[in-house]
Structure formats: C-alpha cells, structure tokens
Amino acid sequence: MAAETPGPTGTAERPGDHPEELVLLKNLPYRLRELIPVAAAIGLGLTVLVLVGDITERGTGIGPRFWPSMLAWGLIALGVLLVFTNVLRGVRPSDIPDDMTWWGIGQMVLTGLVLVGYLLLFNVLQFWLITLVATFVLLVVYGIRSWKVLVFLPVIIGVILHVLFIVLLKVPL
C-alpha cells in the first residue's frame, strides 16, 4: 500500500491501514479536549438514570425502565473507557478536526438566527417572500457580493421550492 493521501489534519494516512495503527498524538491539549466527549457520555448516562425514575413501573421484572437504564449504564461505562483510550493513551490524528475560524463561527450564529426567523414566519407571510428574503440574507452573510447571484439565486430557489412543495406536493406553506 504505497499510495498516501492527506488525512484531515494534513498527516499522511495509508489507504487500507486501520486508523488505530497510526501514531497517537500525546500533546496535552489534544488529550484534555477528549474530556469533553467523556463528560458528554457520562453526563447523558447520568441524566437518563435520573429521568428513568419518572417512568411508571408495573410490578417487578423487565419493564419499561430496564432498557433505558441498561443503555445509560453502558454510556457511563463507555465514557470511563474513553478516559483510558483517548485521554490517558493519546489521540489519533484523524480524531483532530480542522480548526474552527471566528469568521465561520460568526456565520454559523447568524445562520441560526436567520433560520429561526425564517421558521417563525412560516404560515405568517407568503412563503415565496420569506424564502426570497432568507436566501438573500444568507448569501450576504456568506460574503457573496455579486448582484447577479444576489438577485437570481434567491429567485431560482424560491421558484423551485414553490413549484416542488406548494404546487406539486400541496404542502400548506
């Protein structure tokens, strides 16, 4: 297996090799970052165990609480195992994602606001109108400044969605 392709972090990964075979990254920041998935798994497991108490149990034995409780204990156990495999031992290069950028995070937050606004206006204003405005605003947020794109793309998207969902599929929008 001679060919090498760049991995997500720019490291070389050989096709066909199991990722576990790669050299593990021992840097402390990478390993500490893995405490977040550990906390998520254990936290979810504990939350489920608390919520399981609200489920009505009829008699003893294998009732509606059995399966969720089993899964919750499984999550906690797997979270603990992650401490050994990813925090204490090291992180595989392919587990390190591309860096986030402030520009990108800003775009995501603005996108969230636009989408929630778009959703709240469903059935309030004309669908084609809110779609036109939402797509225009999103394009501006993403840094598109070409007036042709800003005019034509929202119109094309609006027309396609209108024809597909309202005319053909009769969705009440």
């Binding site: 096709p15 990108g104 929630v116």
Partner: protein, 527 residues
C-alpha cells in the same frame, strides 16, 4: 429435480411457477410506467449533482429528498431515493479524479489512482474507466439482489426474538466496527441512537417515557428530522465553522486528454472489474459495510493480483477501476440485507428504511416473502438508474467539470433551505423543524468530537426492534434462550469479533513496529 424445476423457479421454490413468473413481470412492470421513469430521471439529475459536489454526501441527499418523497407513492418514492444513490456513485468520481477530493465517502479509493492519472493528462480516460467499472459493479450487485433477496428473506423468517435481537446487535456492531477505528465513540453514538428511540411509548406496556410533557414526543422522536439534522445540517455547519474567508477553492484539472482506452488497456480493465465486482458483492452483503470500505479492499486485492504493482497509487487504471467497480457492487448486497433482514446495509439504507416505515412498508424477512415482486421492482429501478447514469456520465462529464468551480456558499444556502422546507413538509410541523435544528447542532458536536452519525441513526431506527425482542426473549425463556439458538450465538460471535479484532490487530502491529525499532537501534549499537 426436473419436475420441480418445471413447476417452480429456483429462486422462489415456495411459489408455483405461474405465481413466480407473475412476480417478475409485475415487479418489472411497476417500474416501466412513464411517471416512475420520470422520477428516476429526476433522481438521476439530483444524484449526479450531489455526487459531483464534494461535501454533499449521498446520505445527505437521500435524507433531504426523503422530505419531499414521503407524499409520493412508495414505488415512485423508492425510485427517486434509490436513483439518487446510484447516480451519486457515478457523479462522485468526478471531483475525486479532478481535484483529489472524494465527492462522497464511497469514492475515497478513487483518489488513490484517479488524481495521479488526471495529473498525467489522462483524466478523460480515468473518468471513462471509472464510469464503466461503476456500471459493471452495479449490474453485478443487482444480480446479487435478484439471486439472494428472496432466499435470504426466507431463511430469516425462521428468526424468533433471540435471533432478531442478535441480528440488530450484529448490524449495529458492524457499523461501529467500520467507524474508522472509533469503536468506543461508535458505541456511544449507537447507544445515543438507541436512547432516542426509547422516547415516547414503551413498545410492550405503552407507558410514556422521556416525553418531558411535550405532546409531539408521545409518538417518539421523528426520525426523518433527526436524519436530516445529523447528515444534512450538521455537515453544512461543520463546513461553515471551518471555512477560511480568504482561502480560494481547489481548481479542477481541465486538461482531460483521451477518453477511450485502447485494446491492451481494455483487457486490464476487464480483469480489474472482475476483482472489484467479486469483492464488492461479498462486502456489500455484510450489513453496514459500505462502498468506501469495499473500494479500499478491492484496490488492495487488485494490486496483489496485478502484474503492474508499481503503478498502484501513482496512476493505475487497474486500481481505479477495481476500486470503483467494487464500491458500486456493494449496493445490490446492501439493498438485499436491508430489505430481507431489516438491518440497513449502510447509512443511506438506514435513511431509506426511515422513509419506508412512513410509507407503511416494514423492511424485514416478511417483506420479500409476502411481496416477491418488490425484489424485481427494486432490481429494475437500479438497472434503469445505472443505464441512465452511465449514459449521462459518458456524455456530460466535460460540463460537470464546470460545476466543481461553483462556490460552496451557494450550496450551503440551497441545502439549508431544503433542510427547513423538506423537514416541515413531512407532517407540516414546526416542531419537526426544531427537532432538525437541534439535531443539526448535536450532529456538529458529534462531527467535531469524532462520533460517527451512522450508528446513532441505526440505533434510532433499530431501537424498538432491539428492545422489544430482548425483553420478549428475557421474559419468555430468560438469557438461556440466546444460548439455545445457534444463529444468535454465531451472530454474537461475529459481532464480538468485529469489535475486538481491529484494535487487537492494531496493538499487535504497533508492538511489532516497536520491536522492529528496538532491533534497528541494537544493530546500530552492536556492529
């Protein structure tokens, strides 16, 4: 034997010949309707575009399309979704070859030799070989579906609760076992999906669980919004947060060179297609193992059997063809296990099962045995989609190069709006869209921290099946029921092997490398 053959078809021994023949003609006839063919054409265009844009996976496209296909007739809806999947397998080779970026994960192995070939000025040849190999693989996969669909379903009909539970565990662990080595994170994702499936009414007693007083959750977490959120929105958000403002996109290679292979090269192509088709068909039958894995395995097999090993990884037309043939050959096997066992063959099939359940079709052993014509309907949809995709691939590839120059931001807008409207249209519910948005954020978290989304979706879909069969087994005969079932034991054994063997093999190899390193050190010290 001869009288038997005269009165039954070998693949449908339980049916008399006229009934079996009727199933074949009925199945094929259902596809050869003008409206179904129209939907296949629509699916093909969408699939080709989806495949050609890096970052838009076939799973994402099928998830988005499921939003608007739910109101269609089941056959038409299946035609759209399956054709998107097939066409994406053709379209995704273009960016793999021209910009070294897989259009979908299924074409990862295409980059090994496709891009080096393009750099040598043989992009046209690479794309033709890839399209021919993909079509050959697909036809081989369809044969697998036609041959094994009904017998496999017939065998699985003998399964009781212990075997069904073992089968679900098998499907989940296979998907986790191939989750790029992230076994514990795959298991956590699977458990998360299984927990999501517990929301709503208990499958046996009907008691409410985890609904938090929200009326809409009484019927459970709606799975299409979850799927669209995890595969569609999360992927776009991830691209967004990692987007660098001033970084220009990769420019595709536009010198395509010759298009058709010569006689000598054609001979080598046929051999590679054979290797790819054989490997892909076998791999495809294993639930949850998709085209990406099959492509890599086949590339490796082709290299072992080639007389031109030195070309592999540097621009081997054999390596490219074997990988692409194999990744598409998995599709037939994948559809077979999905429909016959009810265990998704890959993440696209998990999405497909979600749509089918809304149409009132429950994939599983009873489906093919009760509706044998469906096997041939599916095979015919796949065949028509393959022929059309091949034709479009060979004719319009030059113009697809231009698509690669489109900015990602345009795609984000289109995908986001489709995620919103598509989710809303499932049951005209704003709540569903909020579920999709929340799952998009959870999906982003999963992507950033290495949790595969596939096992989560699989867990959500298979959760009720797993829970009800486990509890029935334990209530009925206790844990001994599992020990009394050889099928369940075999499935558990394979599942355990799928989880344990890769890390054990890795540990062994790592130790071997460390020892080799020590030996080298000693040989330097002791001349």
């Amino acid at each position: 034997m001869i009288p038997d053959l005269l009165t039954t078809l070998p693949l449908m021994p339980h049916l008399p010949l006229p009934v079996a023949a009727n199933a074949v003609t009925e199945g094929i006839g259902a596809v050869l309707q003008w409206d179904t063919l129209l939907y296949i054409g629509l699916g093909m265009l969408v699939g080709m575009l989806v495949g050609a844009f890096p970052g838009v996976t076939a799973t994402m496209a099928v998830a988005l399309a499921s939003g608007f296909t739910l109101t269609m007739e089941p056959i038409q809806g299946l035609a759209v979704l399956l054709t998107i999947y097939v066409a994406a397998q053709f379209g995704d080779r273009v960016p793999s070859i021209l910009i070294n970026t897989p259009g979908t994960p299924a074409s990862i192995a295409t980059t090994f030799d496709g891009y080096p070939l393009a750099k040598q000025g043989k992009a046209g040849l690479a794309m033709t070989a890839s399209a021919l190999g993909s079509a050959f693989g697909m036809v081989f996969g369809i044969i697998v579906l036609a041959l094994f669909g009904i017998p496999l379903a017939g065998f699985a009909r003998q399964f009781g609760p212990p075997e069904m539970f073992a089968l679900v565990v098998f499907g989940l662990t296979m998907m986790i076992g191939v989750s790029s080595g992230r076994i514990f994170k795959g298991l956590i994702a699977g458990a998360f999906g299984l927990l999501l499936a517990t929301v709503g009414r208990d499958p046996i007693t009907g008691d409410q669980r985890f609904t938090l007083g929200i009326l809409e959750l009484n019927g459970g977490v709606p799975f299409i919004p979850v799927i669209i959120g995890l595969f569609g929105l999360a992927e776009v958000l991830n691209q967004m947060v990692t987007h660098q403002r001033h970084k220009s996109q990769d420019k595709p290679i536009n010198q395509l060179g010759a298009w058709w292979p010569g006689r000598e090269l054609s001979g080598r192509l046929f051999k590679s297609m054979g290797i790819g088709a054989g490997t892909g068909s076998v791999v495809g039958l294993v639930p949850a193992v998709g085209g990406d894995i099959a492509g890599i395995i086949s590339w490796d097999n082709a290299k072992r059997l080639s007389k031109h090993k030195e070309e592999f990884g540097k621009g081997s037309i054999e390596g490219l063809t074997a990988a692409d043939t194999s990744s598409t050959a998995t599709l037939g096997g994948s559809v077979t296990t999905t429909m016959a066992l009810g265990v998704p063959g890959d993440s696209v099939m998990a999405v497909l099962i979600g749509s089918m359940m809304i149409w009132g079709i429950q994939p599983g052993p009873a489906l093919f045995t009760n509706q044998p014509s469906l096997v041939y309907t599916l095979a015919m949809i796949l065949l028509v989609a393959t022929v059309l995709s091949l034709a479009l691939s060979l004719v319009r590839m030059k113009s697809m190069v231009k698509l690669l120059e489109l900015k990602n931001q345009y795609l984000w807008v289109i995908i986001l709006v489709f995620c919103m409207v598509g989710t809303y249209s499932i049951s005209n519910s704003v709540f569903d869209v909020f579920v999709m948005l929340i799952m998009g954020v959870i999906g982003l978290f999963m992507l950033r921290f290495g949790f595969p989304a596939g096992p989560a979706v699989l867990g959500l879909i298979l959760g009720p099946l797993a829970e009800s069969n486990l509890r029935r087994t334990l209530i009925g005969g206790g844990p001994e029921s599992f020990l009394a079932s050889p099928i369940a034991l075999v499935l558990f054994a394979i599942s355990a092997a799928a989880l344990l063997l890769p890390p054990l093999r890795a540990m062994r190899l790592r130790r071997k490398r460390e020892l080799a390193g020590k030996d080298e050190g000693l040989s330097v010290l002791i001349p």
